[in-house]
Each structure stands twice: as C-alpha cells, then as structure tokens.
C-alpha cells in the first residue's frame, strides 16, 4: 500500500472522468467519421472491367467490344452490358463509348455509305471522325467519351468512360 491513500472523493472523480471520457468519445467518433468520410471513400470509377477481347486481336479497324458488369439500382442488382468501339492507333489503344453525345443513341462504325470511315448515329445523322471528334454541322456538340483502358493477361480491361474536352 502506498502512503498516499486515494480518498473516496478522488476515486469517484477519477472514475467519473474516465467513464465520461468514454461516453464523449463514443459520441464524437461517429461524427468525426462522418465529417472525414469523403476523404476516406475509395475513388469510384477506378474499377476496371474485364472484356472478352484479346489485345493482340485488335487492329486499326474499330471493332465492337461488349462487356458486362453488375449494377446496383436501389435493392435491385442487374447485369448491365456496355459496348465500346476499340481500335489501335500505332501502339496506343483507343476505346470510344458508342453513346452519341446528342441524345444517347448508339453509334455505328462505317455504316453510312455516303460517309465511310466515320462513326454514324442513325437517329439524327450525327457523325464523328475515327478519333471520336464530332463533325461540325451534325447534331452532336461534343466528341465521344473515352474509356480508360488497361491490359492484363493479354485481355483488355476498360474503366469508366470519361467525357473529353471540347475538340
């Protein structure tokens, strides 16, 4: 036993401070967590989705690549299939979103006989050059979105399509 005895009053105040501290921390922690939550959140859109396309099969002619991923809409989970027009430009791969920037139809490659080697939207005759730039005078006002891509085990992986700066 030490010489300095802990008095009843001291003992009670120590315990109260301790318990009070825990309670305060218990209340404050979630609040702090909420406040810094946006910082802790993992960057969405960083996920790359596997496509069934081998990188070695790509040529300088755009081909359609379909890929499927799961999307959660409230409690309903569904498989969503998206497409991309993919081709090789030198040793770079270009993956363009097929969604027309006008009103969202699907554009096709080389399907308009009068304007070959272009992306063509059958809805309102919008056109894009091979690199996805919108052709002035046709309805679309922005170039096609671009998918970031990765190569893994020989297969092409695509991320989330990103809009481009004005051409």
């Amino acid at each position: 036993m030490s010489k300095e005895r802990v008095s009843r009053r001291q003992f009670l105040s120590y315990t109260l401070t301790g318990v009070g501290g825990f309670m305060a921390a218990g209340m404050l922690m979630p609040m702090v967590r909420f406040a810094v939550d946006p910082v802790l959140k993992a960057e969405a859109g960083g996920d790359f989705i596997a496509t069934p396309k081998k990188v070695s099969e790509l040529t300088d002619e755009p081909v359609r690549v379909d890929f499927t991923f799961k999307q959660k809409d409230a409690w309903y989970e569904s498989d969503v299939t998206e497409s991309a027009w993919v081709y090789k430009d030198g040793d770079k791969i270009i993956a363009l979103s097929p969604v027309c920037k006008h009103l969202g139809c699907t554009v096709n490659w080389n399907s308009d006989k009068e304007h070959p080697e272009q992306f063509f939207c059958p809805c309102h005759y919008g056109r894009y050059t091979k690199d996805g730039t919108n052709i002035p005078g046709t309805p679309p006002l922005h170039p096609l979105d671009v998918y970031p891509y990765k190569e893994k085990d020989g297969f092409l992986y695509l991320g989330k399509a990103k809009p481009r700066k004005e051409a």
């Binding site: 299939t81 139809c105 699907t106 059958p122």
Partner: protein, 154 residues
C-alpha cells in the same frame, strides 16, 4: 428513351428530336398457353429494351399495351386505336408496334402505325452472351426498317 421519370423529362426537353413511339404489344393468355404467352412477352421485352438502346435519342419506348388473348379482336383493336390517336396527337410522327402475336398482321391495315411482327424465340435455353448476340442481329434488321420509314416520311 424509356418510360421512367428521368428519361421522360429528357424527352419533354427534346421533343423535336424524338418523333417515334414504340409500343410493345403483349398478349396475355391465362390457362393452358400461359407459358408461351410469358415467353413471348419476355422476348418482346428484351428486344424492345435493346432497340431502345440503339435508338435512345429518337424513340420513346411506351409501357406495353397488354390485352387478353381471348378478348375479341375488335375490342383490342379499338383500344389500341385509341392509344394511337393519343400518341399521334402528342407530336409523334411515327408509331411502331412490336409484337409476336400473329393476329396483328391481319389488323395492321386498320392502324396508322407500322406493326412489326417478330416470331418469338424461346430464351430459356440461352446464356447471356447468346441472347445478346441474337438480340443484336434482330435489332440490326429492325434498324434498316426504322431508317427506311424515317426516310420515307422525313
């Protein structure tokens, strides 16, 4: 555009570009032919979804017009005509009906819109990528049909 509030709003803001209404026709049989009826509805549903994806900016996909298979043809036709009148009044220039019920081929002449009859293909045996491929080829054929109609009345 689909029949959901967000896309209907887009439609309302871009009315001048969306001049085509697509109405799936579902025949509902209750009793013995229930399965075939469901199969056809599933097929037409998938097909119109794909079609909508191709032509998002120019068509509005209506909720399906659903009727009982054993209802009298006249009654069903009358009701669809009523839909048509309302659709055409609302600034739509083209109406397409998509169905796998053969009865509509004989009733086509009575309608202003075009009836597209597609024989239903059972989907239960197929995996997703097969389904996708098949729908793709179907939509490609419809694409030609749609663009032709659009050119005619452009």
């Amino acid at each position: 555009m689909k029949w959901i509030s967000q896309e209907v709003e887009t439609y309302l803001n871009a009315k001048e570009y969306v001049d085509t209404a697509v109405v799936p026709l579902y025949s509902v049989a209750i009793g013995g032919e229930m399965k075939e009826s469901a199969e056809a509805a599933e097929f037409i549903g998938l097909l119109t979804t794909h079609l909508e994806r191709q032509f998002t900016g120019r068509i509005l996909l209506f909720p399906p017009f659903t009727y009982l298979k054993n209802d009298s043809g006249e009654k069903v036709l009358g009701e669809l005509k009523n839909w048509e009148v309302n659709i055409l009044e609302a600034e739509f220039k083209h109406v397409f009906y998509i169905t796998s019920d053969i009865e509509w081929r004989t009733r086509e002449n009575e309608l202003d819109g075009a009836v597209i009859w597609v024989p239903s293909i059972p989907l239960e045996q197929m995996n997703d990528s097969q389904k996708l491929k098949m729908m793709d080829s179907q939509v490609k054929q419809l694409l030609a049909l749609f663009t032709q109609k659009w050119h005619q009345k452009a």
